[in-house]
């Protein structure tokens, strides 16, 4: 638990340091991209869907896998689509 807390706090600081450097132009792609990253809960969902503690737990895992995958795939794809539109003056 304390190790987890250490990781949590350090990652927060890393996040603050990097994200304050992101220009406002990219704030919408940042939101959709970070949104896709928060779909990392997919890892937990896969474990829950595959571990078979009980039928209900498997069902919950199954739902979680669907939702988290929508989040991940939708998030990364739409960010990619958006970023493809940002062009320099030529």
């Amino acid at each position: 638990m304390t190790l987890g807390l250490t990781i949590f706090v350090l990652a927060l600081f890393v996040g603050f340091e990097i994200i304050t450097k992101i220009p406002p132009t990219l704030h919408t792609p940042l939101m959709s991209g970070s949104n896709a990253i928060s779909g990392i809960t997919l890892v937990g969902a896969l474990l829950a869907a595959g571990a078979q503690y009980s039928a209900f737990a498997t069902f919950l895992g199954f739902l979680a896998v669907i939702l988290a995958t929508i989040n991940v795939v939708g998030g990364f794809l739409v960010t990619h689509r958006m970023l493809g539109m940002f062009k320099r003056r030529d």
Partner: protein, 464 residues
């Protein structure tokens, strides 16, 4: 090295890739690669998980992956750029719900295990996941509904609203204590989730349109924090790392949005913005001083202009005028006029909304200027064209201490030689106050739909 070690190292690699992904997003040139690194990180994390011995059957998770990927891809490909705020709200909600279900399954496992040494810290983390995840889920659905203009478009409040929120929050804490004290009783967990869902809906219901950027950013942060909390439940480092990165990102955006409106987060979430007593009425401000103009007149202005600035607002998105505006900007440039776009941080319904819309219309990003960068240049600007923006160009924010928006940083368009405002009518913006800019000597009003106005203007300039 055992298999468990390999999995841990893969999770570490995924965490590093996520950090590199965010680093890539610090510049438009590297952003595409950053996003690809992020998706690679996710792939590594998923493959690592599939190697885990805890997974006995692959049937349901494969079906889930296929269904989710199909829906996600369809959403991402079909969504128009104007609807991006809704999509982000929806995806936030899904992430929150997924975390709720993950912790729910874990609570069931812990309850079935029936061993005496249940760690209370894991259960506290489960309760936190349920709370944050459920608030994110229903809060995001309400935000989605407002943005998609389905239900609750107008802020919804009722007497005792705050008191009920407080009661619900206390109730979730009580249910969390029950969950910890009663060996991970799943009933306690699900009641907590239901109460927290209600809380999430009640928190977002009173929020109005122009405050949406704050709420979207905050829910973005919550979806990350929910994932991090789930990481504590599962004792999984990659969930904690990624969750806190996203949590930090959302918090920073929330802070930027609040600053750009000169309001505290507390004020946005719990306060209601309204005109204060003593504020001038629309009649006092506008009476006899509004000058209406035509496309031909504006074309003449541009004919002698050397520098022009365009200020887009949410109205531009509503009118779908981004492509017409691009044609206007290109036409002006071909006539030797320097054209830039002035982007206020809270223009639109989410952070960066205007930038994406204009990028979609092929307007180069280095032509879009932030408020601090463009404000000093307005005094050397011949024509400012405002399309669908109001409060962010209201000089009362600078000059009238009794105004509800006093102190909010604005685009100082009134310093330009001539300001043209494209607007359907003199109706007030979100803050509900009149805009003295419209009555200023150097301001002309062009009453029309945003897109049609720009199309007519392009035609008029071509006729010069």
């Amino acid at each position: 090295m055992s298999k468990a070690d390999v999995i841990e190292l893969m999770y570490l690699a995924a965490g590093v890739l996520f950090i590199l992904a965010l680093k890539g997003l610090t510049h438009p040139r590297t952003a595409v690669r950053g996003n690809l690194l992020g998706s690679l990180g996710m792939l590594v994390a998923v493959v690592a998980t599939l190697l885990d011995n805890a997974i006995i059957s692959y049937v349901w998770l494969m079906i889930g992956l296929i269904i989710g990927a199909g829906i996600g891809a369809a959403l991402a490909v079909k969504i128009p750029m104007t609807a991006m705020p809704q999509l982000v709200a929806l995806l936030n909600g899904f992430g929150g719900a997924a975390s709720v279900f993950v912790a729910g399954a874990e609570v069931i496992k812990l309850h079935l295990a029936q061993n005496a040494d249940l760690s209370s810290s894991v259960l506290i983390a489960a309760a936190a996941t349920g709370l944050i995840g459920a608030v994110t889920f229903l809060g995001s659905l309400v935000a989605f509904s407002k943005l998609q203009e389905l239900w609750f478009q107008k802020p919804v409040t009722f007497t005792g609203h705050q008191a009920i929120n407080a009661v619900l929050l206390v109730l979730t804490i009580a249910l969390a204590i029950w969950l910890v004290a009663d060996d991970a009783n799943p009933a306690a967990y699900w009641m907590l989730v239901i109460v927290a869902s209600a809380l999430g809906a009640l928190l977002v219901l009173p929020i109005g349109g122009a405050d949406m950027p704050v709420v979207i950013a905050l829910l973005n942060s919550y979806s990350g924090l929910a994932a991090a909390a789930a990481g504590f439940v599962l004792n999984n480092s990659v969930l904690i790392i990624s969750g806190s990165l996203v949590g930090a990102s959302g918090l920073i955006l929330t802070q930027i949005m609040c600053k750009a409106m000169n309001r505290s987060l507390f004020n946005v979430l719990f306060g209601v913005l309204g005109p204060e007593a003593g504020a001038p009425s629309a009649d006092d401000v506008y009476a006899g001083r509004i000058k209406s103009t035509t496309a031909e007149e504006i074309a003449m202005l541009y004919d002698s202009a050397r520098r022009a600035v365009i200020v887009p607002g949410y109205g531009l998105a509503v009118a779908q005028a981004q492509h017409a505006v691009r044609d206007l900007a290109n036409l002006l440039q071909s006539r030797g006029i320097e054209v830039e776009f002035a982007i206020h941080p809270v223009a639109g319904r989410m952070p960066g909304h205007m930038n994406v819309l204009l990028a979609e219309a092929n307007i180069p990003y280095d032509q879009l200027k932030e408020m601090d960068e463009i404000n000093p240049t307005f005094s050397q600007t011949d024509v400012v064209l405002i399309i669908g923006a109001n409060d962010v160009v209201n000089p009362s924010a600078r000059t009238d201490p009794s105004s509800p928006i006093y102190g909010m940083p604005i685009l100082n368009v009134d310093e330009a030689r001539t300001v043209v405002v494209v607007k359907r009518s003199l109706s007030p913006g979100f803050a509900g106050i009149p805009n003295p800019l419209f009555a200023a000597d150097n301001c002309l009003m062009y009453f029309a739909d945003g897109k049609q106005a720009v199309l007519d203007l392009v035609a008029a300039i071509k006729d010069l």
